[in-house]
């Protein structure tokens, strides 16, 4: 699979093939940028439930998955969508109502956990969080951790530095590796075999991608086989990690995709309003996800005028002078 020459498929098929009820899922992006939103919407449409979600600072994607009832457990550092929702609204509600279980880490810790998975080591060390409740309080109780084979027995471990204070550190925190069953990321360019090139910030997408058993890449541009072989130091993910490639222009919409489009402030504000109210949110799910066939359906619903407004200015990579108030 990982070495196939042509991995291009439909999003429907990619989700059906790799996302099962209760599976361990990770999605790329950061708050309101480069979330794999088309994939999120397809997961919602396929009514996947009981997901165990791993993210660092995710916003829109996480909130919609939780709001749609797909998520049972989440390991996360930050659930927020910038100015549009300082705390993600459906995430907040779900935690307060106890409908999802949360395990809290810091952003660096989550990133190191993905890196550990990508590297094939059981843990990585950091000096972050010593003395805090991130260490003291475990959202997933020890008994549950021991019972679930796909979870490490410990949330993290504080250890004395075995190298006698080397590097000025007396103690370190070891954080356990994550190996998601499947990771979804959205990138600017990919070829049919799965080589990926991201532009702008990569966040922790590379680590999330390489840690996963299966990796589905959605891309703005599906390029010719040789296109990415020039200046290939710009390809952050070689094809050997990739299981499926799906070509979806505006696949990160309503979040941003550097050099292609900005986030849509109109959408994100309307979402925040709907998310605060169960009835409105149900209507939102119906009108914007469940009754639509695919991402193109969403773009049609939103209308070309709004899509035009968020198109990236080629100089800056975002939509300059966009009304974001």
């Amino acid at each position: 699979m990982k070495l196939a020459n042509d991995k291009v498929t439909s999003l429907k098929k990619a989700v059906t093939s790799f996302v099962r009820n209760g599976c361990h899922l990770s999605i790329g992006g950061f708050t309101i940028n480069r979330n794999p939103m088309a994939a999120v919407y397809e997961i919602i449409r396929q009514n996947i439930t009981g997901l165990h979600l791993y993210v660092h600072s995710n916003g829109q994607g996480v909130d919609e998955l939780i709001g749609a009832g797909c998520v049972a457990k989440i390991e996360i550092a930050y659930g927020g969508s910038g100015k549009f929702a300082a705390t993600c609204i459906r995430f907040k509600k779900a935690v307060q109502e106890g409908t999802i279980q949360v395990e809290d880490y810091s952003n660096y810790q989550m990133t190191l956990r993905f890196l550990a998975g990508a590297m094939g080591v059981p843990f990585l060390p950091t000096r972050s969080s010593l003395g805090t409740d991130i260490i003291a309080k475990w959202g997933f109780p020890a008994a549950m951790r021991c019972a679930e084979e796909k979870l490490p027995d410990q949330k993290l471990i504080v250890m004395d530095n075995p190298f006698n204070g080397w590097s000025g550190a007396d103690k370190v925190v070891l954080v356990p590796a994550i190996t998601p069953d499947v990771t979804f990321i959205h990138v600017q360019k990919a070829d049919r075999r799965g080589n990926c090139r991201m532009q702008g910030l990569t966040f922790a997408d590379v680590e999330q991608a390489k840690a996963a058993r299966h990796l589905v890449v959605t891309c703005e541009e599906l390029v010719d086989d040789d296109a990415l072989r020039k200046n290939s130091e710009q390809n952050q993910i070689p094809f050997i990690h990739v299981d499926a490639v799906v070509h979806i222009p505006y696949g990160a919409y309503p979040t941003a995709c550097y050099n292609h489009y900005d986030y849509d402030p109109v959408y994100l504000k309307a979402y925040a309003i709907a998310a605060k109210n169960d009835r409105l949110f149900k209507a939102y799910l119906d009108s914007h996800i469940l009754t639509l066939a695919d991402q193109q359906g969403l773009l049609d619903l939103v209308g070309s005028e709004r899509i035009e407004r968020i198109k990236a200015d080629p100089r800056t990579g975002y939509a300059a002078d966009l009304d974001r108030r």
Binding site: I32, G82, T132, G317, Y318
Partner: protein
């Protein structure tokens, strides 16, 4: 000259930023403070986001640290691993000043940005640490923005997300953290610092028209007010730059 408390907070923080600082910025007024410093008196200071963006040319205000606006005209567009390593590494980390915010703070500058109430069945859930805990763990100097309210300056945090001085003078060393910790708390009323010996918060100054007694009324714990001075209001040129160059669209102010 009229000014809002939000403008005052931003400019008080900006004054603390030096030309030799790498400024770790969050969203909102923390990045605005760095932008103001850069435009007013510290043109060489470097703005730095946990997302991996270094020294962006912010032609517009980013609405999140992952906003594409932080990716334009940078020194490097990396990722989270790069950003946090830069702070954990003492060679570069000691150049960084962090700007943080939280829902609760205690007298040692420890922060809660996770929950109100019991962690396992919270009455209010917040976004969580993000990079806050990492920055607070790694950098030797940080500035904290807070709203001055009794429910926010608490005797005991409901959850300690980010380490300040922990339980006092030896707190960080005992826990295994590097030296340093929070230096400054900037609120909508006042500015607090931490005593060199006790590591407890004390009132460094009040904004014009606000008395130390008023400040204390807005906190669950008492702090030393004997060192309090009046903090000068924003100067006209500071306000002008802040309003016209930093946030002309009033997205944050």
């Amino acid at each position: 000259m009229d000014y809002t408390l939000r403008e005052m907070m931003t400019l008080v923080a900006a004054r603390e930023i030096r030309n030799e600082d790498i400024v770790f910025c969050g969203t909102g007024i923390s990045m605005l403070a760095a932008m103001a410093a850069k435009n007013i008196h510290a043109p060489k200071c470097v703005m730095f986001f946990e997302t991996g963006a270094i020294d962006a040319k912010l032609e517009e205000i980013p609405l999140a640290v992952a906003d594409s606006r932080v990716m334009y005209h940078t020194s490097a567009n990396g990722g989270l691993l790069d950003a946090f390593a830069t702070m954990q590494n003492r060679i570069t980390g000691d150049l960084v000043i962090g700007i943080l915010g939280a829902a609760q703070i205690d007298k040692f500058g420890n922060l809660n940005s996770t929950v109100i109430g019991d962690y396992f069945s919270p009455t209010t859930r917040f976004s969580g640490s993000g990079g806050g805990c990492d920055v607070a763990s790694f950098v030797s100097r940080s500035i904290i923005f807070m709203q001055h309210e009794k429910r926010k300056f608490v005797q005991k945090l409901d959850y300690m997300t980010s380490p300040g001085h922990l339980d006092g003078p030896d707190g960080r060393a005992k826990a295994g953290l590097s030296a340093g910790g929070p230096q400054l708390v900037i609120t909508n009323m006042a500015m607090m610092r931490f005593d060199e010996d006790t590591k407890e918060m004390y009132l460094d100054g009040c904004y014009p028209g606000i008395s130390p007694a008023t400040v204390l009324e807005h906190m669950q714990f008492t702090v030393d007010i004997s060192r309090a001075r009046e903090i000068p209001p924003p100067a006209a040129h500071e306000l002008k730059i802040l309003r016209e160059k930093c946030d002309p669209q009033r997205l944050i102010l």
